[in-house]
Amino acid sequence: MAGWLFVITLVLALAAVYRPFGDYMYRVVSGPRDNVVERGVYRLVGVDRNAEQTWGVYARSVLAFSAVSILFLFAFVRLQDKLWLSLGVDPVNSHVAWNTAVSFVTNTNWQAYSGESTMGHLVQMAGLAVQNFVSAAVGIAVAVAFVRGFAARRSGTLGNFWVDLTRITLRVLLPICVVATLIFMIAGMVQNLSGGTDVTTLTGATQHITGGPVASQEAIKELGTNGGGFYNANSAHPFENPTAWTNWLQIFLIFLIPFSLPRVFGRMVGQNRQGYAIVAVMAVLAIASVALTVAFEVHGAGTVPQAVGAAMEGKETRFGIPNSAAFAAATTLTSTGAVNSFHDSYTALGGMMPMVNMMLGEVAPGGVGSGLYGLLVLAVITVFVAGLMVGRTPEYLGKKIGAREMKLASSYFLITPALVLIGTAAAFATGHNSTALNVGPHGLSEVLYAFTSASNNNGSAFAGITVNTPWWDTALGLAMLLGRFLPLVLVLALAGSLARQKATPESEGTLPTHQPLFVGLVVGVTVVLVALTFLPALALGPLAEGLS
C-alpha cells in the first residue's frame, strides 16, 4: 500500500508542476531577451546570438560541440594523474577513456569503471559533471529545434544552438540543481574534496570512508537524466541516496523535465491540447510500466526470491522492494540509467521491464529532450499509418508528412534496434559474451541489456558482465555514439524539412491529434513497433527464464 502511495504522490507532484514549469521552460527557449550572464557567455564563445540557423548549421554546431567535448574528456581522464585532486589514481586506460568520454557526452553515462577507485575528484566535477549538464542541454535544445520545425512557416530555420545551449543550462538546469544540491546536503550527502577518512570500526577493523563533491553531481545526475554515479553503487550508495525521501526526490527530478517538455511543445505550436495528448501517451506507458515492475518485484517469482521469501538481493533496506522497483522503472523509462538496486538480481520479469522500457525507445517520457523528439517522431509515424488507413496524405500540426519526412522518421526508428541486435549478435558470434557472469537465458539477458542500454543512451547496467575489456568498451562506445548522433541528425533533418513547408489548413479529413483516439493510436504503434522488433530476443532471454 505504501508502495502505491509512493507512486501516486509522484504522479500528483508531476501533474502539479506540468503547467508552471512547462511555461517557464517555454519562456526560456522562446523569450527574446538575454540576461547579462548570457550575453557574457555569447561574447566569450564568440557567436552572434541573432544568427538564425538552418537545420544543417544547427546539426553541425551540435556535432562540433560534442566532438570537442569527447576529445576534451578523453584527454582529461588520460591525464588525470597529472592534475590536482587526483587522489593518487592512475590515468584511465585508453579504451575505458574512449568509452567514458563517449558515454558522458552522449548523455548515456554507461560506466565501464568504478568511480571510487578510478576517477579523481577534479575529473568527476570538471569533466564528467560538466557533460552531465551540457549533454542534457543539448538534448533539450534539439527537441526545441525540432518543435520549431513544426511551428515555423516557410522560414527554414530552427533557432540558434548556442543560445539554446546557454539559456537551458543557465536558466533551467543550474537553478534547479542549486536547490536540489542544498536539499541533498541537508539529507546527508557528502560534499567535500577529501580523499576520505580512515576509521576504526567497533570491532577494530579499518574502514575507509570515501569523500568527494557528491551532492552537486547527484543533482544534475538525476535532473539531466544522466545517471552516472559518483560511486560504483550509484544511487544505492548511502552517500548518493541517504534516505527514502531523497529516493522519492531523485525520481521526481528524473521525471521533471521530460514530463514537462510536452507543455513547451504545446505552447510552441500554439495548441496546448497537443501537449496534453503527447504527455498522455507518455503517462499511459509510464504508469503501466511502473505498476508492472513494482508488481513483478513484490510478487517475487523465481527460485532464489522464493527461497529468500522476497526479491531482496541487491536492494537496500531503507528503500525496500516497491520503491526500488519504482526507481528501476523511472531510470529506464527515461535515459537516466542511475540505479538504486541492482537489476541483474531482479526477478526474471521484473528485470525484463527495465529492458522493455529502454526498447520502447525511451519515449515515456524518455531522456531530457530526446524523449520528446522520439515520441514526436512516433506521432509522425502514427499519423502516417492512420493516413494509410483512410487513403489520404497525412499531416501533423499543419505540416504534410510526405515521402521525405517518412524516410527520415523510419530511419530514425531503425537505428536503435539495428545497433542493439547487431551488437548482441556480434558479441555472441565473437565469443565476447563469455565475460557474462551468468549462463543460459540470463547470460543472453546480460548481453542484450548492455547493448540496449548503450544504444538507447540509458547507461543503466544489468551488471554481472565484465565490460571493461577493449572489445566491450569499443563496441559499446560505438553503440552509444551512433545511438545518440544518428537519430539526432535525422530529427534535425526532419525539422528542417518541416520548417520549409507552409502550413496546410485543417480540413474535414485531418486526423485530430489531440483526442484520446490519437493517444491510443500512438501507444499502440509504439508497443507494436517494439514487439515486432525485440520479441524474438526477449523470448530467448528473460521470457525463457521467467517461464522455465
Binding site: L202, G211, S341
Partner: protein, 287 residues
C-alpha cells in the same frame, strides 16, 4: 584572414566548453564545498562521521561488519546484512552480487579458486549460519539441511520428456538431500562436472520448509551498495535474545533500544522501516 566555417564552429565549441567547465565544473561544485563548511552542514558534508572519545568509529550512513579478524560474527553486536562490497562493507569497492534469480548451480572444484557458490547456496548457507548464531531454525525453501541449494539435474530418456534415467544432486558431493527422485536413486555430484551441459534438466526442489522462514530476507541477501547501514526491525528483533544474553541486559531493554533506533517510513509511506545498526550498537556500548 577569414577562417573556414567548420573551423570557426569548432573554435566556438571549444570556447563554449571551457566557459561551461569553469562555471559548472568549478564554480558550482566548489561553491557547495564552501557551503558545506557551514556549521550544522559540515558534519554531513564530511560524511556523517561518528566519533567515540577521540576515535572516529565510522559513518552513521555507511554500514560496517561486526566480525572478528577471521570473519566470525562478534556475538556482542547486532550483525549487519551480508555485503558484496570487497571483503564486506568496503567503501572503496562498493558493489552488489549481481547474481540472478536462477543462479542455483554451484561450480564445485577441488581447487577453491575455481569453485564458486550460486546465489541460492549463498542464501541457504547464510540462513543456516544465522539460525545457528541466533538459536533458531535456519531452514528455507529450496535449501538442503546442510545449507546448500537443493537442486537436482534430472536426465530424461528423451531429453525433456520420457522416464527419468539419472538424477544428480548438483550442489552436493556427499550424501544427497533426497534419496530418490522419480523412482531413481539420486547420486551426489562430482567436482568439475557440468551436468546441465550433459543434458540434465536443472530442477530446484522446494522441500517442506515454511514459506515464511524464521530468518528474515534481509539477513540472507546482500544489498545493492554493499554498504547498507540498516537492517529490518525483524532481523534486529531476531538478534535481541543473543544480545541480551551477551550484554547482561533484559530482553525488554534490548527491545526498547531497537525501538529507539528504528526509523519508520518517512512521512508514513516512503521506503521501509529500518534500524541503523551502527547507532544501535553504539547505544549498546554506551550501556
Amino acid at each position: 584572414m577569414r577562417l573556414p566555417t567548420w573551423l570557426t564552429q569548432h573554435i566556438a565549441a571549444l570556447r563554449a566548453l571551457l566557459v561551461f567547465t569553469v562555471l559548472l565544473g568549478l564554480a558550482y561544485p566548489l561553491a557547495f564545498v564552501a557551503i558545506g563548511r557551514v556549521p550544522g552542514l559540515s558534519d554531513k558534508a564530511d560524511g556523517s562521521l561518528v566519533t567515540v572519545g577521540d576515535t572516529t568509529v565510522g559513518s552513521s550512513l555507511v554500514g560496517q561488519s561486526y566480525t572478528d579478524a577471521d570473519g566470525n560474527p562478534d556475538p556482542r553486536y547486532f550483525q549487519s546484512r551480508p555485503s558484496a562490497a570487497g571483503d564486506g562493507y568496503d567503501p572503496t569497492s562498493t558493489s552488489a552480487s549481481n547474481l540472478g534469480p536462477e543462479s542455483v548451480v554451484d561450480t564445485l572444484s577441488d581447487n577453491p579458486d575455481d569453485a564458486s557458490q550460486s546465489l541460492l547456496t549463498q542464501v541457504c548457507a547464510r540462513s543456516l549460519a544465522v539460525g545457528k548464531l541466533e538459536g533458531v531454525n535456519g531452514s528455507r525453501p529450496y535449501c538442503t539441511a546442510d545449507g546448500v541449494g537443493a537442486v537436482l539435474a534430472v536426465f530424461y530418456r528423451d531429453g525433456l520428456t520420457g522416464p527419468v534415467t539419472r538424477v544428480v544432486s548438483v550442489n552436493q558431493t556427499d550424501k544427497p538431500f533426497l534419496p530418490t527422485y522419480g523412482g531413481v536413486t539420486v547420486e551426489p555430484a562430482q567436482n568439475g562436472k557440468d551436468y546441465q551441459a550433459l543434458g540434465g534438466v536443472i530442477t530446484p526442489i522446494r522441500g517442506n520448509a515454511p514459506s515464511s522462514p524464521v530468518v528474515p530476507a534481509d539477513a540472507v541477501t546482500a544489498s545493492g551498495s554493499g554498504l547498507d547501514p540498516d537492517i529490518s526491525p525483524a532481523y534486529a528483533t531476531l538478534q535481541a535474545p543473543r544480545i541480551a544474553r551477551e550484554r547482561g541486559l533484559t530482553l525488554d531493554q534490548v527491545h526498547k533500544l531497537i525501538a529507539d533506533h528504528t526509523d519508520g517510513r518517512a512521512l508514513g509511506f516512503l521506503g521501509e522501516p529500518a534500524v541503523n545498526v551502527l547507532e544501535l550498537n553504539l547505544s549498546l556500548d554506551g550501556k
